[in-house]
Amino acid sequence: MKVLSLNFLTCAVKACKSSSNSYPLHPKDAELVQDDLEVNAQLLLNLLPRIDWTALSTTATELGFPALPPQAPSVEELQSDEKKLRDLHNLLMETQIMEGKLVCANCGHEYAVREGIANFLLPSHLV
C-alpha cells in the first residue's frame, strides 16, 4: 500500500470515527519498499488540495522521513521547486508499506499489514 493511502484511511471501529485521535493511523514496525516511478507533476499538483498535510507530516515523521514543512506548499511553490515535487512523489507514490502494523491512537487496535495488504477486519469484540 502506498503511503498516500494512509491519508485516506481511519480506524474501522465505528466508535472511533468521531474521535480526532483515530486519524491518522500510526505505522509501527513498518517495512518499506521503494518503487521507481515516473513523476507525474500534474497529479501531485491536483492532489495537493485534497491532502491532509498535518496527517501527512505525522506519517512521514513516523516512517523515518525528514520532517515536512509545517504548512503545505502552495501549488505555485510546488510547481517551481523540482526537489520538493520529487520528494513528495517519493513519499506519496513510490513508498509502499509492505509489512507491519497500523495503530489507532484512540482504541489502540493494531491493524496488521502483510504483503502490502492492510487487514481492517475487526475482531468480534470491536464490531
Binding site: M1, S5, T10, N40, G116, A118, N119, F120, L121
Partner: protein, 281 residues
C-alpha cells in the same frame, strides 16, 4: 465449476449459476469487439476468488461507454485527481481496467484508484491484476494505491470517494453467510481449507434477502462516504427489485439522482443485470 458450487454450504438452488457460468457459455472475443483490452486475470485462484463473469464485463462496458466517459470527464475535469474505490473487486478485473484506462475513461492520467475486499486473497489478486494491466498500458494508466482487506468502506475516511464501484453479492439466498471477523478467514500465508474456499466464494455472491442485504448496507453508507462530486456505480439483478432500490436512493434528498446506465440479458427473466449510477447534483 458446477462441482464446486454443488458443495457450497448454502442452498443456492442453481441461482448462482447464472452469475458464475455465463461467461463460459458465451464464447466471445471481447478485445476484438471493444477497443480497450480486458485485464489479464490468469494468475487468479478461482477456487477462492470470484471469477470475472457477465456482471464484471457489464461494468467494464458501462464504465467505458460514451455516455459514462462523457459524464466522468465533465464531472472530474482538469485540475482534479478523482479517487476511485472499488468495493469487492474479487479478481480485480474492474478496478485494474479503470486504472489502466484512466486516460480513456477520465481523459486524464491524474486518477487515483484503490480497492477494499473482505477476502485477503482477492486483495492480493487485485494488486497483481492492477500491476499487470498498468504495465500493459504504460501510457494511459492512473495510480493504483493498493487493495486492503475490510468490510465495505469501514476504513475509508468520510467524504473522500469520488467514484465508488460495487459489484455486490447480489444473489438472493435463504440467509446471508456469517459476516467475517478477523479470526474467520485464513491468514494470507496459510493454506486455505476447502471449507475456507467455499466460505470466501459464498461471500462473493450470496446476498441474503432479495440479494440485497450487503448492497443495502453499502447504499446506507453513500451519503457519508461520497465526496461532494461523488458518484457510485452499483450492479443489480432483477431479483434485487431495482425500482425499489432507486426509490430508496431518491429518498436521501432532492439532490440525489439515480439512473440505469447499463444492462445485459435483455430477455425477460431473473438473470437480467443492470448498473445504476448514483450521483448528487
Amino acid at each position: 465449476m458446477q462441482a464446486r458450487l454443488g458443495l457450497l454450504p448454502l442452498d443456492i438452488s442453481g441461482v448462482s449459476l447464472g452469475r458464475v457460468k455465463r461467461a463460459r457459455e458465451e464464447p466471445f472475443d471481447r478485445d476484438a469487439a471493444y477497443m480497450l483490452p480486458t485485464p489479464d486475470t490468469s494468475h487468479v485462484a478461482y477456487e477462492r476468488v470470484y471469477e470475472p463473469a457477465e456482471d464484471s464485463f457489464l461494468l467494464l462496458d458501462t464504465l467505458s461507454s460514451a455516455t459514462e466517459t462523457a459524464f466522468l470527464q465533465t464531472r472530474f475535469g482538469e485540475g482534479y485527481a478523482p479517487l476511485v474505490v472499488e468495493v469487492g473487486p474479487g479478481s480485480g478485473v474492474v478496478i485494474a481496467f479503470v486504472n489502466a484506462q484512466a486516460q480513456a475513461l477520465f481523459g486524464s492520467r491524474n486518477v487515483l484508484t484503490a480497492a477494499v475486499d473482505v477476502n485477503g486473497y482477492a486483495c492480493k489478486a487485485t494488486g497483481e491484476t492492477a500491476r499487470k494491466a498498468a504495465l500493459e498500458n504504460a501510457t494511459t494508466h492512473g495510480s493504483f494505491l493498493g487493495a486492503l482487506q475490510g468490510d465495505l468502506v469501514a476504513p475509508v475516511r468520510d467524504r473522500l470517494v469520488d467514484v465508488l464501484i460495487f459489484n455486490p453479492p447480489y444473489v438472493p439466498t435463504p440467509e446471508l453467510p456469517k459476516q467475517p471477523r478477523q479470526a474467520d478467514l485464513p491468514a494470507l500465508d496459510a493454506k486455505p481449507s476447502f471449507d475456507d474456499d467455499s466460505y470466501m466464494l459464498s461471500l462473493s455472491y450470496a446476498g441474503g434477502r432479495d440479494g440485497m442485504e450487503t448492497t443495502d448496507r453499502l447504499i446506507d453508507s453513500l451519503p457519508q462516504v461520497l465526496s461532494t462530486k461523488g458518484c457510485a456505480y452499483i450492479l443489480l439483478c432483477a431479483q434485487n427489485k431495482p425500482e425499489q432500490v432507486k426509490q430508496r436512493i431518491l429518498g436521501f434528498g432532492e439532490a440525489w439522482k439515480v439512473a440505469t446506465v447499463g444492462s445485459s440479458g435483455k430477455q425477460a427473466g431473473w438473470e437480467k443485470l443492470q448498473i445504476i449510477r448514483i450521483w448528487v447534483e
